[in-house]
Symmetry: C2
Subunit: 238 residues, 2 copies
């Protein structure tokens, strides 16, 4: 069977796709989906992605043992436990916990994809585990790049290209965006960190003083968990 | 002065830009902007881009000596003189004439850009003439890819990358889309026709039997005219 392997370069282009015909992979390399992969790998019970900071705050009132994480414009929002730095998602901090998370781009992309057949989370951290699982699915696949405030960004597209690299031997039809993403990956793959240094987001994140986060998020295959959305919660796919 | 050199990968992303701060270059390589460049080069007095087929028809009623051109989904609309094949824009057909043109993607992108400081038309045909002129302007530049029904396509992005290649020694700040477009151009530049053969649009156009048009549209620097929008008419920039 011929399946489509498509890349949605920014959430602003999602209306062009019949999302309900796809398994969606949400991609926000710096840093939401990297941190989600790391947190689930490290034993977080679940991560609940919410759109608004207020929704995140509301969980505080519920009096339960939630960790609240809110990021806007690359910074932890005042009054929250943490944002989306992967170093906040270590085993000692998250094991057994449920984290409520809102971010500038990643949770936005996820919420726009809710009608998908299934939503999973991708990052360089779980690249091969994710790709291997995708190979076993007999569905169209849409790689949704979270971008930056609806703008195209290179790091998310490059990762989409890395997934395509692992899948393209299979029976998939690629759209132009998938071809482009994969070609960009070919250019960047030998030193992704170096390649991304020239990008706008790299500059922006550097100003925020999170180079260590960036380095962390570009590690390939250090995790094997695939976070999947079940109801409103991201949990480990079993 | 630092200027922005940005690429809008599809018209669906135009709302992300303050178009009024830019000179906009509209790009629809297969085939609208290639044909516009060729028609203006060959002595067409003006080309009037309109959004709807009905607007185009309306010019027939005006009883004047207009050539009416309408294309949808790659084909000439029934009842029209011609569509957007460059071979309809030869000197013998267009010299001294005013052409009213509506196309699937190109005129759409143009109309969304109307608030720009200036709108000019780009294609491989006038690549260097256009780039040289852009170098003399002290303005931000937005390269608007018409795409295919708001989807990203490779041929328009590749051309954006070709323009950037000529401008990037200048004092421009590139966004991620501009970096990506230029990188894709690096991959394709040695044989653009071959590179584009793998794209979806290439397949689509091949089915329409217009390989000769495609070959024509990928000729570099065979024209020097720069079509510019004056009021509602595209005319030769002087």
């Amino acid at each position: 069977m011929t399946k489509n392997l498509n890349v949605c370069l920014t959430p602003a282009l999602l209306p062009l796709y019949n999302v309900e015909e796809y398994i969606v992979v949400v991609i926000d390399i710096f840093r939401a989906t990297s941190s989600i992969c790391y947190g689930i790998e490290n034993g977080a019970e679940a991560i609940i992605p919410v759109s608004q900071v207020e929704e995140c705050s509301a969980y505080r009132e519920k009096g339960l043992d939630y960790l609240l994480a809110a990021e806007r414009d690359g910074k932890v929002v005042d009054g929250f436990d943490f944002g989306n730095s992967p170093f906040s998602y270590t085993a000692e901090k998250v094991v057994g916990k449920t984290i409520v998370l809102t971010t500038t781009n990643g949770t936005h992309a996820l919420h726009l994809s809710l009608s998908a057949k299934r939503i999973v989370i991708g990052s360089f951290l779980n690249l091969t585990a994710l790709s291997n699982w995708l190979k076993t699915q007999h569905e169209n696949i849409l790689l949704v790049c979270a971008g930056w405030k609806n703008n195209f960004n290179l790091e998310d597209s490059l990762f989409a290209g890395a997934v395509i690299e692992q899948l393209k031997t299979e029976d998939f039809v690629l759209d132009d965006a998938a071809i482009a993403a994969n070609d960009l990956f070919q250019l960047g793959k030998d030193d992704i960190n170096l390649y991304l240094k020239k990008t706008s987001h790299g500059e922006r994140l550097k100003k925020l003083g999170i180079e260590k986060d960036i380095e962390f998020c570009l590690q390939v295959d250090i995790t094997t968990a695939i976070p999947v959305l079940e109801g409103e919660r991201l949990v480990r796919l079993v």
